[in-house]
Amino acid sequence: MSRQDAPKKKKIKVPKVVNGIESEVEIEVDDVPGGAWPDRASLRLLNHDLPRVDGPEKSSGRARYTHDVRAPGMVYARLLVSPLPHARVKKLDLDAARKVPGVVIAIALQEEPKWLGEPIAAVAAESVEAAEDGLRALAPQLEAMPWAVDHAGATRPDAPRVGKDGNLGKPETNGDEAKARAALKASAASITATYTVPIQHHSCLETHGVVVDYRGGDEATVYCSTQATTGFAEEAAKPLDLQASKIHGLNEHMGGGFGGKFGLGLEGQVACRLSKELKRPVHLMLTRRDEFLMGGNRSGSVQTIELGGSASGDLLGMVATSFKHGGLGRGSLAGQPYIYAVGDTYRAVRSVLMNLDSSRAMRAPGHPQASFAMESALDELAYALGVDLLEIRKRNVKNPEAWRNEAWKRQLDRAAQEIGWAAHPHKTKPGPATGTECIGIGFALGNWGGGGSKGCEVEVKIERDGSVSALCGTQDLGTGTRTYMAAITAEELGLPLAGVTARIGSSRLGNSVGSGGSVTTASLAPAVKDAASNARALMADHLSRVMNLPAAGFRFMPEGIVNDQAKSPTVMTWAKACATLPVEGLRANGVWVDSLQATGAPCVQAARVAVDPGTGRVRVLHMVCVQAVGLPLNRLALKSQIQGAMIQALGYATGEGRVIDPVLGLQMNANFEEYKLPHALEIPRMTTIIDDEDKRQAVVGVGEPPAIPGAGAIANAVANACGARVRELPITPDKVLMALGKVV
């Protein structure tokens, strides 16, 4: 397109995600009609259940993850991580490590580790066993330095200084405190309570790590388990001392991310350094213990909430005083009153620094924490006022975008119906703590953007042999990226799903946005659609010349290609049409089209639990989620993703949480025998509902929103069952008994 006929521009707001943390920015895009998704009724593939196209590779163990990469002459590297939160390395026997048979290199990394798990040395060897021998031979002698690893330790007057400016961050405040306090005073009832959430670990089954394949020369290949395949070459360029464009980044499959895998990471930097020095491929995947200590996490928080309302349940005043526990980072916490509207709110949030690794993004950074506190406080107030738990939620959702409130209200009704609310006896006060099985129900709401932005470059290729591929250097965290790329392209070209191959996971393919903040699908799918429609137009154009028929008349259908402007339309098979292409086939590019995606993914979750007030045992019996998703691309994968987020919230609510001994400075649960993920025996009945009342013909990402409300819903259900209001996650039997006053 020449300069003079450049289209008009318009400004739109899109999410910007840095390391998984979402914010909003305004960008300029072409103001042209960007195409539209076909009517839902006419879709053959999209909005259906599509088994993922890489499923056979995964279920047969053939899918290759970074952990599985093997290269000729490859050595295995291990990190020695600091066992103390702050120390000085007095002695490190690098020579002894180098003398261990099989060890090829041993390097020191840090003389004064300032956080628990900070790497202090690295060893690489011909075998995993020899690398571990090498680590033992380092026999480090550490001098303990003062540390702070918990809230009390970091905030006491004589606390060791973790940050340059002290351990308490500047308060971020919002609202008028005097007004909020006046509103609290004028309320019919108010509550004050403190809610605590622990640090949660991503616990990706594939740990962080890389394989760096540098064997001399000016090129390298770096395999990385990352949420941003096209984003890490520049980081690797420095330690490898190569041009970024000479580094091929690869990430065919990855074993989970959940927000914690951006960038090359410390481990990646070290592996690059080792490979550069050795001129041999280096395999460096964190061990499980190292992953717990240095792989990032969801920040913890302590939130004190004062909340007051009118007799009919309108929220009038709120004062929220919160602290974030993000290790050496600032942590994240969505602003209270979270998604609800309160007459007058004042909030003050401060970070508390500790000698722990910095928290990272994890599925809806800051939102599950805020949701747990707000939803708990809301129920406490509802009981104080004697207002129905469903009603108080409907009254207080007052988003400026009215459609979201409508969505929450209908989703609440649907969730209530699925969870059996109508027949439930405890709607305005908790049930009695009697018997051995008290049944309770809890509700909670979530909200997220889920819109996309520019940044994905997609190519669709049609070959003369009839094969079709859709290419982008993006990644699949387990969300089914390949499947919807293939489905969108196949839908557009009238092909079966198997007729299109999606190729991703390479920095040599087109650029992609990083997968954080639920932006991938809404950024990528429009670009795939654009590339596929362009391919279709080029194909029609080509056929019109070959067949001497108007290009506009071509229809691409499962039965074949027809030109309905031909005198006697005949069906041409796809293979036959492609055979007329020139030898290089056909290539079409696609970019982001904002009209194909939208922002806004409200959801409601409900939980039903059974509590034994004698033992404090909680069993989650049933979880329900009703989730707005815009136009569903693949219903099967969407349900898996939504349900998976609910199960992660189940873990947050009932079992997970980093435990650190403040005196010893050790993490007491840095592996899966003590860090308790939900397993097969704890999985409740799950009802996952795609909100089909959301009729938007636009794609919305939903990686984050269903991870938000689950913990609040479960905590509320436990309190509803028998009055056991547990204000600190995870809800373990001891805390239930304490809440019931049975133990102190």
């Binding site: 056979p56 590779e57 993850y65 020899a130 594939e206 989970g256 965290l477 349900k639």
Partner: protein, 223 residues
């Protein structure tokens, strides 16, 4: 019925029991039989390789790098391991070409991602010593089917979306394969018990149960 405890290293045969006693005594440095001095000094690629026959009934002394033969997915495979090399590390790092379908996640027997079949019984490969398994029949996920000819269970994993990131999938597939072999009519409770030791972080368990029950129905009907 399958219990999750079937799958840890507490087998009830004599070899397992003797190894358990030994592991306790050795405080975490594991070897099949007796630890040799060369092993304590660290395994060496330069060390002489000793070909050794089938696992002996009584105590045997193994040290350094030894060449063993394992029967993996029906084929004899020769590989060089140290006495302390686990089956997991042997499969993933000692075999040429490596078999990487068996995943290393916790490396200490509490996630199930490395589940393999040893004589058709599910076992955590990270808790088995490779040299102990001479003469035993080892089946990994790769031995159950390949993308072009998936097993019935693998097909149902695909159909029901019993996998998201897929990293835990091989372990679940192997564990449930063993359960269905024992009883294709296994109930959902049986299936849950059979994979109670398998961790899945994506939260795919409900679809895995569905896939297992669907596969069981097909296997019971001989389809």
């Amino acid at each position: 019925m399958a219990k999750s405890s079937d799958r840890d290293s507490d087998g009830d045969n004599a070899a397992d029991l003797s190894r358990r006693r030994f592991l306790r005594g050795a405080g975490g440095v594991a070897a099949g039989g007796v630890i040799g001095p060369a092993l304590l000094a660290g395994g060496a690629r330069a060390a002489p390789v000793t070909p050794i026959p089938l696992a002996a009934a009584g105590p045997e002394e193994l040290a350094g790098l030894v060449e063993i033969e394992l029967t993996i997915n029906g084929s004899p495979r020769k590989l060089k391991v140290e006495p302390r090399t686990t089956l997991l590390d042997a499969l993933r790092t000692r075999l040429e070409p490596a078999l990487t379908g068996t995943k290393s996640v916790c490396d200490r027997g509490n996630c199930g991602a490395c589940t393999v079949l040893v004589d058709d019984e599910p076992r955590y490969a990270c808790l088995q010593l490779a040299c102990d398994l001479r003469g035993r029949k080892i089946t990994t996920v790769e031995g159950l089917g390949d993308p072009a000819s998936l097993s019935v269970l693998q097909q149902e994993f695909v159909a029901h979306d019993g996998q998201q990131c897929g990293f835990c999938t091989p372990g679940f597939v192997v564990a449930i394969t063993a359960a269905l072999k024992r009883d294709p009519r296994a109930s959902e409770a049986d299936i849950r018990a059979a994979c109670a030791g398998n961790a899945c972080r994506c939260g795919t368990q409900p679809q895995i149960f569905e896939a297992a029950l669907a596969a069981g129905r097909r296997l019971a009907e001989g389809k």
